[in-house]
């Protein structure tokens, strides 16, 4: 098991947002998290990467154990973050850095990788996401889809053991969604471990191994993706899927 969290709770200003989430992730899993907006999906992903600190619950990441009831140490946070990556809904590229520099930053600054080595690796990753010819462009000169692909290259640069995606295509114009999903499909094929919060039901169904339905801070239902979509068990899941079909 690569990652296991149990009983994750998170409260914001007296609002109980996460009400005990359990999840275990094996190497190579692609897990889709779906659910209505406001159900706590983003908050959950953020807790996994300590962008928000859970109030309660435990995490086991490979050999590291964290108990959120106690103060989480900075070194634990930093260690786990260095082994994971995060792709944001609105890309969050570094605006003062080129596409290439966005990818190399985590290598050169955080991991003290030699600059030439980092540049070479970054070029290969930009190639992989189809943006080698945009290496010297600044984020403001790239389309949303291109920015998100740079963000994925940036996530890949540090050889993460798991990548968290928070609705990576939700901010994109419809015609740009495909290019990002294709890159993600390729990663899934290569065996990358990913947790993907998404509204793309086809992606969840076709690409992910397991789908989780979250509503109101709890996991309502989860299961092997094909089964999940073909035969949802819970009424709330059925209602949610039906509502999406109508859209």
């Amino acid at each position: 098991m690569l990652l296991e969290v149990k009983n994750i709770h998170k409260t914001f200003d007296d609002m109980h947002i996460l009400k005990g989430i359990d999840l275990s992730v094996n190497k190579g899993d692609v897990i889709a998290i779906i659910g209505p907006s406001g159900s706590g999906k983003t908050t959950f992903l953020r807790c996994l990467n300590f962008l928000a600190i859970a109030d309660e619950g435990t995490m086991v990441f490979d050999d590291k154990k964290i108990n959120f009831a106690e103060k989480v140490s900075k070194s634990d946070i930093s260690d786990i973050r260095k082994r994971t990556a995060f792709v944001f809904q609105n890309y969050n590229l570094f605006f003062n850095k080129t596409a290439l520099q966005n990818v190399t930053e985590g290598l050169i600054v955080a991991r003290k990788v030699n600059k030439d080595v980092a540049n070479k690796k970054a070029m290969a990753l930009l190639e992989k996401v189809g943006l080698a010819d945009r290496a010297d462009y600044y984020p403001s000169q790239l389309s949303g889809g291109q920015q998100q692909r740079v963000a994925i290259a940036r996530a890949l640069a540090t050889d993460p053991e798991i990548i968290y995606f928070d609705e990576p295509t939700s901010a994109l114009d419809p015609e740009l969604i495909g290019e990002v999903l294709n890159v993600m499909k390729q990663l899934a094929k290569e065996g990358m471990t990913m947790i993907v919060v998404t509204h793309e039901m086809n992606f969840a169904k076709e690409v992910s191994s397991r789908t989780i339905f979250m509503d109101d801070g709890i996991i309502v239902e989860s299961g092997e993706s094909k089964k999940f979509f073909d035969h949802p068990k819970q009424e709330r899941t059925k209602a949610f899927l039906k509502m999406l079909e109508k859209e």
Binding site: T84, N92, F95, N96, A110, Q141
Partner: protein
């Protein structure tokens, strides 16, 4: 207007401009920037106690006149045994004064940078300080650049106040020439013209700098 007086005194007034007013501005402003960045970062990072000190400093300096601050340091401090030469006193007051204003500019600029970039920095493994230094601060400086440069242009003009604490900068020099030749209108318009010249040159530098810095903005 007396053209001969104008011509005769031009170099005499310009010289202390080049040797006193400009260096006084450059040194004070550099120090002010250091103060401003530190003060702004203390507030941005929400460091307890230091943050209250920063707020107090800004409140105090912005709430009192620059001329009064100059008098306190140059004429006031000697009475408690702290005597500071005129030029160092001017540098101290100008940097502390300008630092307070620029700190507010910098704080606003830092807060205008989307928080997501800081989080992205964490997620690629960078520390808070690394992300601030490499990602947030450069962008904030870019945002603040026009305001900071305006502050610099104001400072060039404000250095004339140093004449009140015996610094022989352009204004003091003009007053001394006027005491001899009694051509107040000619001489004060002349020094005004030289300040205008300095400001204009700085405005051009500002435009050039803004173009240089805009490399990562939309073309």
């Amino acid at each position: 207007m007396n053209l001969q007086v104008f011509i005769d005194s031009f170099w005499k007034i310009l010289l202390p401009g080049l040797t006193v007013s400009i260096p006084l501005t450059v040194i004070s402003f550099s120090l002010a920037m250091v103060i401003a960045i530190i003060t702004a970062l203390i507030q941005f990072a929400n460091i307890k106690i230091l943050k209250d000190l920063a707020r107090f400093y800004i409140w105090f300096i912005r709430g009192t006149p620059l001329l009064v601050q100059l008098f306190v340091v140059f004429y006031g401090l000697p009475s408690i045994g702290i005597t500071i030469q005129a030029i160092p006193a001017a540098i101290i007051v100008f940097s502390i004064n300008e630092g307070a204003y620029c700190a507010e500019t910098m704080r606003g600029a830092l807060e205008s940078i989307p928080k997501g970039q800081l989080e992205a920095g964490y997620c690629v493994g960078m520390s808070y300080i690394q992300t601030i230094y490499r990602i947030v601060l450069p962008q904030a400086l870019r945002v603040a650049f026009p305001s900071l440069f305006n502050a610099l242009i104001s400072l060039v003009k404000d250095t004339s106040l140093a004449s009140n604490i015996t610094v022989t900068e352009m204004m003091m020099q003009t007053r001394m020439i006027n005491a001899k030749v009694y051509e107040a209108l000619t001489l004060y318009l002349e020094v005004a013209l030289i300040y205008l010249m300095f400001s204009t040159i700085l405005t051009y530098i500002q435009r050039w700098g803004e173009k240089k810095l805009s490399s990562y903005e939309k073309h």
